[in-house]
Symmetry: C2
Subunit: 171 residues, 2 copies
């Protein structure tokens, strides 16, 4: 086993030693929260939003974008498991701002000698506030999203750790 995996499994065995109190947590998030945010390594949603195990669904992808898959997850979160408070959180210095869809497709074609990347919507970001707004609107207009869900949008500032409100509640 390589060092990286060994270190993860060692940390996990330490975590498990203190886990017993969490064994009875139920499946539905107790605080009825779902967060959609970026996979970025600097973001730890549980820490930056004060969430404990059992509190909230956390959905993450490159950019924190409202892709079809993120919406699949949100619909299950809301309609099967009862969440009602959804936050879309993008962040400063996002990798998705560092390339256009055309650029990443070209770069991947050079690396892997396949045009496969040209057929993918990479969801690169050119305007932070606009991407949050578009994503909230896309979620809101999905026919499988209840009007009872509150959706708001924030930007996480990787220089300060602060959540900056972009679109308040009841968007």
């Amino acid at each position: 086993m390589n060092d990286n995996l060994h270190k993860i499994l060692h940390a996990n065995s330490e975590y498990a030693k203190k886990y017993s109190g969490k064994a009875k947590l139920g499946m539905p998030p107790s605080r009825k929260i779902a967060i959609l945010t970026c996979m970025d390594a600097r973001l730890d949603p549980a820490k930056f939003a004060g969430l404990n195990e059992g509190d909230a669904h956390v959905i993450r992808n490159a950019g924190g974008r409202a892709t079809n898959d993120a919406i699949r997850s949100l619909v299950i979160s809301g309609s099967v498991l009862g969440t009602k408070e959804w936050l879309v959180i993008h962040h400063s210095d996002c990798g998705m701002e560092s390339f256009t869809d055309q650029e990443i497709s070209k770069s991947l074609e050079e690396k892997f000698d396949t045009s496969e990347g040209n057929y993918i919507n990479w969801f690169s970001i050119s305007d932070r506030e606009k991407s949050i707004k578009e994503d909230i609107e896309r979620i809101r207009r999905n026919p499988l999203v209840s009007d009872e869900v509150n959706i708001s949008g924030y930007l996480f500032d990787v220089k300060t750790g602060m959540l900056i409100e972009i679109y308040g509640e009841n968007i």
Copy 2:
């Protein structure tokens, strides 16, 4: 502002007070790790795998499945930001085991009066080990995934907090 949002923003302001040491973290994950896991509220990947801010990409969706969107994120993680150690982590008592695709589509049709759900692949899970294996295989055969990436598969046991190895390294 509602109580749920207020509580999140209060926790965030406390987090930001102690953030200064993290302001200089770079965009690429320092430990070159990417984890694909479920949105389930009981899972805190940073805690259960011993990850600090800056260490690893974390991609999460309903089930921790290798959807097209998860693969989009993994390709960016590997080819743009240099991760080489990918873990696919599903878990016991997953909500995705509690319905079939047909059942959730029917339930949503009754709730929202639209057949929209019939057009969605919900990625429900009928066999835990099989779902992990299928997901790893789907990632591995993607032409935009480098052979240099190590991919392994684990099951997180929500009763013990332990990661159980299903498919070791070099799958």
